[in-house]
Subunit: 339 residues, 2 copies
């Protein structure tokens, strides 16, 4: 078993002794300075520096029942769309003294439940889930936890607790309406097999009024899969005019494959992605897409959690951050203009 080396960390007791005050006064000087005289605070702060004291948040959390951690659950960390969310979540939490504990649930339902149990052992003060939970049991687990929970990247009618996201159905129908408004009627979809992408497809099909050729690829989607998807779709209908893709990576693959087949974009084939990746505006041709403010999702999720931890009123437990279709060259038909 691992034994900590001789150089033990200074404890608050050491600080108190250095500053010639009691343990609790030292504690207050650091955590609740308004209760302590200025002179004492200064003495304690000096003692902290001299001893190299680093507060033990495990001990503090045990006693105060606030671990100052928030758990973040993602399917896998390397889903590019979620990255800005995780980043801004981490940053915003950090600004308020909270740390993020990251859990990857994979795409496995059983794992999801096990992960929740493991992570709850750390007694986080809140939980942020990226994407709705798969299993009903997991949702039930969360409901019973009694800590703030934010579900992100989707809007449920009945969230476990709170939610920050947008309607994937509406994204789908908006994309379809956009294509139809351009006068394109032979439409198709290249999509990942995850739940949210499927809902966008549903919205798309509903707005079109009938089913459309669809190529479904396994997660995580990629440029390579986009190339394969276009090949598949052209097999289903060689006369496709416009394709809605479930990610910009996929859309880029469609672009590459289309160009290598000598198709002109958007005259022969229009393409719209999803997510507004950093590269999308700079491709040739530039890629139209649906923009989601992923970083804002993380910020809002953090804010909701922190407010609830401080017993501050939360204005609305369900926040729709919306979306925007960004028109670029890949769909710049007659009715539109290049941004």
């Amino acid at each position: 078993m691992f034994r900590p080396p001789a150089a033990k960390n200074a404890t608050l007791r050491d600080v108190a002794r250095e500053a010639s005050v009691s343990l609790i006064t030292a504690s207050r000087a650091l955590g609740n300075p308004s209760l302590v005289s200025t002179a004492t605070i200064e003495r304690v702060q000096e003692a902290v520096i001299r001893t190299g004291y680093i507060p033990n948040l495990l001990a503090g959390g045990l006693r105060s029942r606030r671990s100052m951690t928030v758990a973040g659950l993602v399917p896998i960390i390397s889903v590019p769309q979620f990255l800005p969310t995780v980043q801004s979540l981490t940053e915003t939490l950090d600004q308020h003294g909270y740390q993020l504990i990251l859990g990857q649930s994979g795409y496995d339902h059983a794992r999801e439940e096990k992960l929740i149990a493991t992570i709850m052992g750390r007694r986080p003060d809140g939980l942020v889930v990226t994407g709705l939970l798969h299993s009903a049991r997991a949702r039930e687990q969360l409901r019973k936890l009694g800590i703030p929970v934010v579900e992100t990247w989707d809007l449920s009618e009945r969230p476990v607790d709170m939610a920050v996201g947008f309607s994937h159905l509406k994204v789908g129908s908006a994309a379809a309406d956009y294509f139809l408004g351009k006068g394109w009627h032979r439409l198709a979809i290249a999509t990942g097999d995850d739940h949210r992408a499927q809902k966008r497809r549903e919205g798309f099909v509903a707005a079109v009024g009938h089913d459309v050729p669809t190529a479904t690829v396994p997660a995580p989607s990629s440029l390579a899969l986009g190339r394969r998807a276009l090949a598949e779709l052209l097999r289903q209908d060689p006369g496709i005019q416009a394709i809605f893709c479930s990610s910009d990576a996929l859309a880029q693959g469609v672009l590459v494959e289309a160009l290598s087949r000598g198709l002109r974009i958007p005259e022969d084939l229009a393409v719209c992605g999803f997510g507004d990746a950093d590269f999308s505006a700079h491709l040739e041709p530039s890629l139209s897409t649906v923009r989601i403010d992923a970083a804002e999702i993380g910020r809002m999720a953090a804010t909701l959690i922190i407010d609830r931890c401080n017993n501050e009123p939360v204005s609305s437990p369900v926040i729709d951050i919306g979306f925007r279709i960004i028109e670029r060259e890949s769909t710049a038909g007659s009715a539109g203009c290049v941004i």
Copy 2:
């Protein structure tokens, strides 16, 4: 079934009572079963299920001085190159019961030190740093912590503790040798401004024997910056034959810009990236690059930490995982062949 909203979590004491054993026996049944009879273990396990007990790892960590957490420091989470490392690190740690606490140091030296202090408050059992530390003070802090530290994505001659990475100098010189071997002599570099990329540039220049036109872009590098970088390099030397880029995103930008200027790849301009992103093999033309096994870095880092936590001997504290140049169409000159 009624449950008060603030239903307190069951503690080990509750489990022990349910199972009619002492506290410590319950503890051992769960954490050290070899010391307890099979019948008792079973009774305890049933009690766990009946009570819905979730061990409080804060309390356990406080007492045992093992928090079962590992801190991971990255500049920012959304650097694509590090993602597979973070992912496999999380997974490997998870398999051994450890959780990753993520810290983003930004690109700010002062923040780095502050972050280390914050994170140490959680008393992690180990620390994984992605990239060498910027500030000497931060390195000094780590040395004094007395916990296993793994620096990744680089090899230092004098690591704080352990290291898993590769030589950026060698990558640079290998890239230069590769270009020179193709008969290309008017070389250039498009590079991010981070320390590791600069070392690759150093190695490149050393192998070439003289300085080369260089476009330096701020982190994080992107396709857009790659386009700008090529424009800049062509201004410096319109006759450039081959460019070594510090990331595949940057290289892709160079490709896009080159094609939009009517340059033929690789006849007019050869391009090599770094990192072997998932899209690189599927671009048109496909992108030559330097492949690093990023996931392996994460796995090895986790293993090193865990071994050290268990006081198991670590074969070597510095592990070179090497790299490989992957030749594809963007550099498929006469002397080579397309993979």
